[in-house]
């Protein structure tokens, strides 16, 4: 809109109608170009170093447990069989050694691999209206299929996402003393307040009646029918779907420092089925930096781009020294070269001279680089 206003303003300006608005026409010189590339390099390399450094300072303890936590029965089918058998206890104990001091807060994540939360069928399978208000229109729930109705009554919360809620649980001991994990405040405040209803209680939720599944696929966690949805932070975290098939979800926070040499014992209730699709499950304890979690990518990428930029500047310097080119020399204008050439034959032949010239230049540059 404001642009329209400006255009109207300019319409009254004769310089606009005559296309004579004062224009800034930046002039490219090799000097400028070299300085720009240098400047980019000079800016990017320290930034990259800084980012890399802070990422390196992040301490992470990662424990992959999906294979070690089940009997080593080989085939996939056996594993699926095992995990789907609700009668067997699936407790599993893991020991994690803290190798470096970790400052609080230390975040506890579970990490899933090969889990497509971004699958088209999956990502839409929810009803935001229902999550906030409890009952929802047909159209809003249409995407929830096949987890929409049971015996004609709507499932609350409906949809594949809620149904497949991750349900492994962990209990931590630090040097054999129970370690308190803060499980509150792991979901986004905005979600708790404005996206999930405080008076919406799970009802008719299939996972709450595992016996009724009758051999069809079992979902994930059950939901306490007496806890409103916005109090179930695990659900809220889970329902923020991940964009990649590898993702971490916050499970809790450790509100104390850990020191190198500390031994953490985790009792895992390993019930979530990732065996059908060769998924992985990991437990992660990690600190953060100003850039977030441990991720060298940003730092390295900055270093690479900065480095290339300086290299490019050098290439330009090199070319400029080796074959300085008086740009704007009008003798390069082809029509000054051979005036009166018959132009009828092929207008596209205008640039022939340049093509030749340019190829020479190109070869030279190649020689320069090698």
């Amino acid at each position: 809109m404001f642009l329209l206003f400006f255009i109207l303003f300019f319409l009254l300006d004769s310089r606009f109608t005559q296309q004579e608005l004062p224009a800034c026409k930046p002039m490219l010189t090799t000097g400028w170009v070299i300085s720009i590339f240098m400047a980019v390099g000079v800016l990017f390399i320290p930034l990259g170093a800084c980012a890399l450094n802070s990422s390196k300072k992040v301490v992470e303890i990662v424990d992959q447990y999906e294979t070690v936590c089940i009997p080593s029965a080989g085939t996939k089918e056996a594993r699926v069989q095992y995990i789907q058998d609700i009668s067997t206890a699936k407790a599993c104990t893991r020991q994690l050694l803290v190798t470096k001091n970790m400052a609080k807060p230390i975040y506890v994540y579970y990490e899933l691999h090969n889990f497509f939360q971004n699958h088209r069928r999956y990502v839409k399978s929810r009803s935001d209206q229902q999550l906030l208000y409890g009952n929802a229109s047909e159209s809003s729930m249409a995407n929830c299929d096949p987890q929409r109705l049971i015996a004609g009554k709507p499932i609350v919360p409906c949809g594949l996402i809620a149904w497949s809620l991750f349900n492994d649980t962990y209990s931590f001991k630090l040097n054999s003393v129970a370690l308190v994990i803060n499980r509150k405040g792991i979901a986004w405040d905005s979600d708790r307040k404005d996206k999930f209803g405080g008076s919406v209680y799970p009802s008719n939720f299939p996972n709450n009646y595992p016996a009724a599944t009758n051999g069809s696929i079992i979902g994930g966690a059950s939901l306490d029918p007496n806890t409103p949805l916005n109090a179930n932070e695990d659900l809220i975290v889970w329902m923020r779907t991940a964009a990649l098939p590898v993702f971490r979800k916050l499970w809790g926070k450790i509100e104390r420092d850990l020191y190198a040499g500390d031994l953490i014992t985790v009792d895992i209730n390993n019930v979530y089925n990732v065996y059908s699709f060769h998924g992985k499950k990991k437990l992660v304890l990690a600190t953060t930096s100003w850039l977030g979690g441990k991720n060298h990518f940003l730092g390295i990428a900055y270093l690479v781009v900065g480095g290339l930029s300086i290299a490019m500047a050098m290439v330009f310097v090199g070319i400029q020294i080796k074959c300085p080119r008086p740009l704007g020399d009008p003798s390069y204008l082809s029509w000054n070269k051979n005036k009166g050439r018959d132009l009828n034959t092929s207008p596209s032949a205008t640039g022939v001279h340049f093509e030749v010239c340019g190829t020479f230049m190109f070869l030279e540059v190649k020689a320069l680089c090698s």
Binding site: Q18, K25, V33, F116, R121, S309, G328, L333, N344
Partner: protein, 1109 residues
């Protein structure tokens, strides 16, 4: 093309077939005078309707028209597919919204135009007119006039339908009309009451009965063939022939005549004007065609992607997806399951062809047209005429013109005729210093009452269609349809042979003070085929019958008896032509009484024939126009317009080939061609003549010329070769030697075609077009209209010959010299801008599309959309449309530089800025940028940060940042508007998204606030810009410095010149301030000046250099 053919048939009808076909279909309609109610239903009433639609058919008809275009069909298909929720990745509103908007905007525009037409029609239809019904004069609405009604008109009234004049206030039965609304000619024309009706008073006219036979309605406003027969008690004549001179055509105005009445013969939309109405079919520019081609290619690419991804998706689903228990695929799939995933990808990829490209191009085009309208450099102060772009859609084509076909008279010349020289019976009057009218020798001869001179001057004064009108103070002014005639009559009156008065059949001429009266018996009118006109007069005093003739030399020479004279006059005429003068020969002969009677009967017969009248008359005329006595020749000068030579020179430098198509003589045309730089003079240039009067002659001549041409082009003997061909030879060449002619035409840059008819002009344009060259036709008169309409771009000069050409044209200019600016500045900029705009529009959508495609590989090839509906819709409509629109102000190089180096236009002609390979560059860039955004986003936003909504917005803002930089990189000149558009757009993006993030129920709730507070987000943006723009900038800079295009070189020069200028002034300022002056700065300035002086002469062509110094 079909239309052209049909027209040609009209112009030169095959006689025999016409006759036979006409017998079958009778001869058209019979109109019973004063019996308007006789056939109320046979003919339509006088309701004029120019509207395209009515209330009921508007919607279906308009939609049908809009869906005629491939792109619109595509958009509709996509929108319909999106209604299927199973496959749509986004809310259907994201497509339906913009689609409906676009369709309703163009529908509204159409409706508004149509409504305006309706209003005008209504105004015309409801105008009150006096009509005689059943012998009683009543006042009715114009739309209720029926064929056969007698309509009464007063002075200044507009004629409501095509009528045949029956009576007028003038006792001689003359009625003056102005026809500017039909043919743009502003002079008054005379119309006469058919002789049986002359003298009828208004009472009789109320009761008049009769029958008029006329042909079916057609659109030829210059021909009206009908017969009139009055019933008793009125003089029961034989059929009396009616010509266009007896008619009042719809939309003319009655002038200088108190009242007139006539019988309605054609009404409503069946009038001559109504038939020739009709909206011209839209022209498609080369840029449009290329865009269509590229869009087609993109569509193919899209289909390939869809098929591949669809296959992969289905494969992945059958092997992997079943294992993903949480996706919960139903066991039994419906039969159409296999097409679901491909269709999903089709929808995901549908934005590859963005709707916005159409909108932004249309907007940009109307902007170009406005710039043309506004341009003060193309405004002629003398006539207060600005340049007008009537067709707003084809400005890009101006930049790609390869051939200009131009008319001569009035286009290159002023069309301001001055009588310069004459030759009377072998003696020449007038020389380089004096016009003939001031030549003492002629004045002396006049004083001596030299009979030959008097004969000559009498023919000049009488043999014409000029209307003298006496102003109250007694001075006489002449109104003429032809400028030549006016010049002749004025010259005669200067020599005291004054045309005093012209009533219907009588001419008064004062010859040296003595008034002579002539009865005009017949006028053998001028046609472009006969190339001469004659009048048969009877001198009142002596009763002698005379035939006075004037015409083109070869037309006269062939019918002259005294060969001795002919040779001498032919020589002189040649001399005159070589001086670029327009020549006419005058002749006369005495006619014997019985010969006249004999002939007169034949003439009447021919004139009253309804079929092929023109041709039959011409045949009869030959019988009379023979055995003439040649009196001499006149030479009239038509001055060249200002700046014609320079304009043609620089346009030729720009690689544009010129063809001159003129009705003038060969020599005159060649002379004008030389004087306006069409061809270089003799040592460098050469004119080759294609001549011949028979098929074989022309063939031989063509071959000879072609051989010469081939030799000279291999030997580089001449820089410039042009061929000259006349109308007759052209006729043969086009009919029998098309191939040879095409070869010849492709070899030389210039052609001069003289003595060509309007339809030949159009044919030539069509021919050049058929060799796939972009053509521009420029002309000023009614005879250029067909050529103008046929060419890719038609330019009309709004000059003295009326506005007919200017109206039919796409652009109208006041002067020929503005053509240079129109093409070099406006055409070139428009092409450049559209080339950027269209490719960029596709590029930006491709970027988004590639990200979606990449994302599908990490989302199980299931067709998930990374972006939400709002972002997808807003991306094309809001986020990226504004900066790209600002590019309509971009100028790669200054106007001045372009005008100095017209050669740069060759870049546009060759389509260097928009072709498959440049587009491949943009495609590659889109792929690269898509990859950069996707990879960086997906690597930074991993693990706990990998949240769909956040990632989506990060990727989107990455694209927006890249867009800002890409537009900036491709812009050459930044005005305030560009700064605002590029910078402001980025700010606006954040504002939009921050606002969208406050909407609780939206998917984006809080997301933008959340990511804006992350330092990682801003680092990601910087990285995306660095990684995305760096390589592209490096490549661009490398090209700029080491493989510069011609444009780059000029850009660099232009900018460096400015910098040195600025340096020079600043350093000289510094020098004066410090009085002594720092040596270093003045030295540098001196160096700069030196270096620039070294470059300067090289840059400028030799001619400019001399001008500079």
């Amino acid at each position: 093309m079909a239309e052209i053919k049909e027209d040609e048939e009209d112009a030169r009808p095959p006689r025999i077939s016409r006759d036979s076909s006409n017998k079958e279909k009778n001869s058209g309609r019979c109109v019973y005078i004063n019996e308007g109610d006789r056939y109320p239903d046979l003919y339509c009433n006088n309701r004029v309707s120019n509207t395209k639609y009515n209330l009921w058919n508007f919607l279906p008809k308009n939609l049908w028209e809009q869906f005629g275009r491939f792109m619109n069909k595509y958009f509709l298909l996509i929108a319909i597919l999106q209604l299927w929720p199973l496959i749509t990745p986004v809310n259907p509103a994201s497509t339906w919204g913009p689609l409906l908007l676009i369709f309703s905007v163009s529908a509204c525009k159409e409706a508004w135009d149509d409504y305006n037409r309706y209003k005008l029609d209504k105004q015309a239809n409801e105008r009150m007119v006096w009509v005689v019904k059943k012998g009683v004069k009543t006042r009715i609405q114009a739309q209720d006039i029926h064929v056969g009604d007698i309509v009464w008109l007063r002075e200044k009234d507009e004629v409501p339908c095509d009528m045949i004049l029956l009576g007028s206030s003038d006792p001689q039965g003359v009625c003056y009309i102005e026809t500017s609304t039909i043919d743009g000619e502003t002079d008054l024309k005379t119309r006469v009451v058919p002789s049986p009706c002359i003298g009828l008073n208004s009472e009789l006219l109320h009761k008049i009965k009769g029958i008029i036979e006329c042909g079916y309605p057609d659109r030829d406003i210059r021909r009206f063939d009908a017969n009139l027969r009055l019933f008793p008690p009125f003089i029961d004549t034989d059929y009396f022939p009616i010509t266009v001179n007896n008619t009042l055509l719809q939309s003319c105005f009655i002038r200088n005549t108190e009242w007139a009445c006539g019988v309605a013969v054609y009404t409503g939309n069946e009038t001559k004007l109504g038939m020739s109405r009709g909206l011209p079919s839209p022209k498609l520019t080369a840029v449009d065609a290329m865009i269509d081609k590229l869009t087609g290619a993109i569509f193919v690419f899209q289909v390939v992607v869809v098929i591949i991804l669809g296959f992969a998706g289905n494969a992945w689903k059958s092997t992997e997806a079943d294992k993903l228990w949480y996706v919960h695929y139903p066991k039994a799939a419906p039969w159409y399951e296999f097409i679901v995933i491909p269709l999903r990808f089709e929808l995901l990829c549908s934005i590859m062809i963005p709707i916005s490209i159409k909108v932004s191009l249309d907007l940009a085009k109307s902007m170009y047209a406005k710039f043309i309208d506004w341009d003060l450099h193309m405004y002629d102060e003398k006539t207060d005429t600005p340049a007008v772009a009537t067709n707003t859609a084809i400005s890009e084509d101006l930049g790609q013109i390869e051939y200009i076909l131009t008319d001569k008279t009035g286009t290159l010349t002023e069309n301001l005729m001055v009588f310069k020289k004459c030759c009377i019976k072998g003696s020449c009057y007038g020389d380089s210093t004096r016009d003939a009218v001031k030549d003492p020798a002629l004045l002396r001869a006049l004083n001596e009452n030299d009979p030959e001179v008097l004969k000559f001057l009498t023919v000049m004064a009488v043999c014409n269609t000029v209307v003298p009108s006496r102003s109250p103070n007694g001075s006489i002014s002449y109104k003429a349809q032809s400028q030549d005639e006016e010049a002749l009559v004025s010259a005669a009156s200067h020599l005291r042979v004054v045309l005093l008065n012209k009533a219907a059949n009588c001419v008064e001429v004062s010859v040296l003070g003595a008034v002579l009266e002539f009865d005009i018996l017949d006028v053998l009118e001028f046609t472009s085929d006969r190339k001469k006109m004659s009048v048969i007069v009877r001198e009142r005093q002596t009763g002698e019958l005379k035939l006075l003739t004037k015409g083109a030399d070869e037309a006269i020479f062939s019918s002259v008896h005294n060969d001795q004279q002919v040779r001498r006059v032919a020589e002189i005429v040649d001399q005159y032509s070589q001086m670029g003068l327009r020549t006419l020969c005058l002749a006369w002969r005495d006619i014997r009484e019985e010969e006249y009677h004999d002939w007169s009967r034949k003439f009447k017969e021919a004139s009253s024939s309804i079929v092929d009248r023109e041709w039959k008359i011409a045949e009869v005329c030959v019988l009379m126009e023979r055995n003439l006595e040649l009196l001499g020749a006149t030479a009239i000068e038509d001055k060249l317009q200002d700046g014609v030579a320079e304009t043609i020179e620089s346009l030729r430098d720009a690689g544009i080939n010129f063809w001159m198509l003129t009705g003038d003589k060969q020599l005159t045309a060649a002379q004008i061609a030389l004087s306006c730089n069409f061809v270089l003079p003799e040592p460098q240039g050469q004119l080759l003549y294609v001549q011949g009067a028979t098929q074989s002659d022309v063939g031989a001549s063509l071959e000879r010329v072609l051989r010469t041409m081939q030799i000279s082009s291999t030997e580089h003997k001449y820089q410039d070769v042009a061929f000259v061909i006349d109308g007759l030879a052209l006729e043969f060449a086009l009919k029998y030697y098309r191939q040879l002619f095409a070869e010849l035409a492709s070899l030389c840059r210039t052609a001069i075609c003289c003595r060509v008819t309007p339809s030949q002009k159009a044919q030539l344009v069509h021919l050049v077009k058929s060799w796939e060259f972009r053509t521009l036709a420029i002309g000023d008169g009614g005879n250029d209209v067909r050529m103008i309409q046929e060419a890719h771009v038609g330019v009309g000069i709004s000059g003295r010959e009326g506005l007919q050409a200017a109206r039919a044209a796409d652009y109208s200019l006041a002067k020929f010299r503005f053509l240079k600016r129109l093409i070099l500045v406006h055409g070139r900029y428009s092409y450049n801008r559209s080339a950027f705009l269209s490719q960029y529009s596709i590029y930006k959508s491709l970027v988004l599309c590639f990200i979606q495609i990449f994302f599908s590989f990490v989302s199980g090839i299931s067709g998930t959309s990374l972006f939400n509906s709002f972002s997808l819709m807003a991306y094309n409509v809001l986020y990226t449309s504004v900066p790209v629109m600002a590019s309509v102000l971009d100028k790669d190089i200054d106007e001045k530089t372009v005008l100095q180096h017209p050669q740069i236009l060759k870049y546009c002609q060759a389509g260097r800025l928009l072709n498959p390979s440049t587009f491949a560059g943009w495609f590659g860039r889109a792929l690269f940028h898509g990859a950069v955004v996707f990879l960086i986003t997906m690597h930074v936003y991993v693990n706990e940060k990998s949240e769909m909504e956040e990632v989506s917005l990060v990727a989107l803002s990455g694209c927006i940042w890249l867009q800002a930089f890409v537009v900036a990189l491709e812009t050459s000149s930044f005005t305030t508007i560009q700064h605002i558009a590029i910078g402001g757009n980025l700010v606006a993006f954040y504002i939009f998204n921050l606002v969208a993030s406050t909407v609780k129920w939206g998917g984006m709730y809080t997301i933008m606030f959340r990511i804006c507070s992350q330092r990682a987000y801003w680092l990601t943006m910087l990285l995306i810009v660095g990684a995305g723009i760096g390589p592209i900038a490096a490549l661009k800079f490398f090209r700029f410095f080491y493989r510069p295009s011609l444009i780059n070189i000029l850009q660099y020069r232009e900018r460096r010149a400015r910098v040195t200028e600025a340096n020079a002034t600043s350093s000289s300022n510094a020098a004066s301030a410090t009085s002594s002056g720092s040596t270093s700065s003045s030295q540098r300035a001196a160096q700069d000046e030196e270096s620039s002086s070294v470059y300067q002469p090289l840059l400028l062509s030799t001619k400019d250099r001399t001008k500079r110094q």
